[in-house]
């Protein structure tokens, strides 16, 4: 019965085209005389879940930093809802999550969750910040751990606080750089599933950098494969599996087929490509 549902959904158009929230055109980045990214064209539809996957050194983290306004492209342009990434970040449109949760060890979970918001918006009172932090902790499933310090939280819980901290800004887009990379396999699966639920509840646009083929297919609507030397988008894959997805999707024949397809693409992306 499950298989039928999936097949029926698989027959739909791969994705419905929304307005692009993020669009990168001809982005190249040169760092230390090395071409890190070459001529990247990327569009991320509003409300979409997009993954960037590729071998180490393909520049996928750099691409995420370009989208976040933390690295200036050497050439090309990036627009987030018509703004430059730096302008978008100042308007609290960008939420960032890194592999390391980077919580402040001297603050408890709720104060960590509201920390960036407090800096971005100085007009908020302490009570406002606490309330917002608590609300976000509840969203990520940590409502009853508000007063715990980071050293009392597990790795997965710390990363949930980091996600809450990004969401507290109420950003239009969540940029995540291997957020679950340091977690064990089971926690990683659970975190992915939670992220999916948060995405569906909040309607945020998410761009996820990952190493994991399973994670990319389980979570995203579109996957872009990056190749090395120089970093460039070699392939793009639409994931037609219907939402809402849960972990049982990984046993779906279509999921297995996509894993094989994406693995083949990734293998090809390990071959250095000439400047074309």
């Amino acid at each position: 019965m499950r298989v039928e549902t999936i097949r029926a959904a698989g027959g739909r158009p791969a994705h419905i085209r929304h307005d692009d929230l993020i669009s990168a055109k001809g982005v190249s980045v040169v760092m230390a005389r090395q071409l890190v990214l070459q001529n990247i064209d990327l569009s991320v539809p509003k409300g979409s879940f997009v993954s960037l996957i590729g071998p180490s050194g393909c520049g996928k983290s750099t691409l995420l930093k370009v989208l976040a306004g933390l690295v200036d492209p050497t050439s090309g342009s990036v627009s987030i809802a018509g703004l430059s990434p730096v302008e978008a970040a100042r308007k609290r449109m960008i939420g960032l999550v890194f592999q390391d949760a980077n919580l402040l060890p001297w603050k408890n979970a709720v104060d960590n969750a509201s920390m960036l918001l407090g800096i971005a918006d100085r007009s908020l009172s302490r009570a406002d910040l606490k309330a917002r932090g608590q609300e976000m902790l509840e969203l990520v499933g940590l409502g009853d751990s508000a007063h715990k310090r980071p050293n009392e939280l597990s790795g997965g819980m710390r990363q949930r606080v980091a996600i809450a901290r990004a969401l507290a800004l109420d950003p239009a887009v969540l940029l995540m750089d291997e957020p679950f990379g340091a977690l064990d396999a089971i926690t990683r699966d659970q975190m992915g599933q939670s992220l999916l639920e948060i995405w569906q509840r909040t309607g945020k646009t998410i761009v996820l950098v990952t190493h994991s083929i399973d994670e990319a297919i389980h979570l995203s609507r579109h996957v872009h494969v990056l190749g090395i030397k120089p970093g460039r988008i070699t392939e793009s894959l639409d994931i037609g599996l219907p939402y809402p997805r849960d972990l049982s999707v990984t046993e779906d024949p279509e999921f297995v087929r996509l894993v094989v397809q994406l693995r083949t693409m990734l293998r090809a992306s390990h071959q250095p490509g000439g400047a074309s």
Binding site: L70, A89, L96, L104
Partner: protein, 271 residues
């Protein structure tokens, strides 16, 4: 009935932690007592004259006989140490903040601070006496030049070891350098700063004694010098004992301060 085993377990845990504490202290205490006994015996057996090495009992006698003078001197030295230590910590923190906050000033100041660190500061004691006289000021000055450096250096290390991606997060929401300094760098540096503060506490004791050696009319350093000119070696040792007690007291005071200021910092293992 059901909570019986739990009570037993907690009692036995208490007992085992007590026995762990005694077993960790016991060897040191035994060695100390043994040393004192051997010292006493050696002085008596070989009839070593008291002005070369006084027996522990002689030192204890001197300690009791001169108790009033020694306590008064201890109070003076303790005051110098405390004042000098506080000034060192404040100046050390201020220099570290200036170096981190004002980039160009930091580039000018930091090499000079390191250069100054290589001046043998004990040799500055006579100059400070010349400039500031025989009172409190030259001792504070000497403690300052000896003790501020570990404070500055440890705080700098702490402030500069903030994770880059945390700084990226702060920058992405438009945090100002001052906000990053006081919200992130300074609290992040506190565990390092406290480690530097403990070193400064120890160095402050040295600074005070050196300052008193160079010129003073009071304090334990003065007692040591005066007693040695009188060949009252027992009194020298008695004063030395009190200096050591002061040193230990200041060190543990700094450690208690550390537990209050940075309860969230990773503690070193109790084992």
């Amino acid at each position: 009935m059901s909570d019986q085993p739990i009570t037993n377990r907690s009692e036995s845990r208490l007992a085992s932690s007590w026995s762990a504490a005694t077993s960790s202290w016991l060897p040191a205490v035994i060695l100390l007592l043994a040393t004192i006994v051997v010292w006493e015996a050696a002085v008596r057996i070989f009839a070593i004259s008291a002005f070369i090495i006084p027996a522990p009992t002689e030192i204890a006698k001197s300690l009791v006989a001169q108790w009033g003078t020694l306590m008064q001197a201890t109070l003076v030295t303790a005051g110098e140490i405390l004042f000098g230590f506080l000034v060192s910590v404040v100046v050390g923190i201020a220099i570290a903040l200036v170096i981190v906050r004002f980039d160009w000033l930091g580039r000018a100041l930091y090499p000079l601070v390191v250069l100054f660190q290589n001046v043998p500061k004990v040799a500055l004691a006579p100059i400070f006496i010349l400039w500031f006289g025989y009172g409190l000021a030259p001792k504070i000055g000497l403690i300052l030049v000896i003790a501020f450096f570990p404070v500055t250096l440890s705080m700098l290390a702490g402030m500069q070891s903030v994770d880059r991606s945390l700084l990226s997060l702060m920058n992405s929401v438009g945090a100002s350098p001052t906000q990053i300094l006081f919200r992130i760098r300074v609290p992040h540096s506190l565990p390092n700063l406290m480690a530097g503060t403990k070193i400064a506490a120890t160095l402050s004791v040295i600074g005070a004694i050196v300052g008193e050696f160079a010129g003073a009319s009071d304090g334990l350093g003065y007692v040591i010098q005066f007693a040695s000119t009188q060949l009252d070696t027992a009194l020298v040792f008695a004063a030395l004992l009190l200096v050591s007690v002061l040193g230990i007291a200041f060190y543990y005071a700094a450690e208690i301060l550390e537990r209050i200021v940075v309860p969230w910092a990773p503690k070193f293992s109790q084992a």
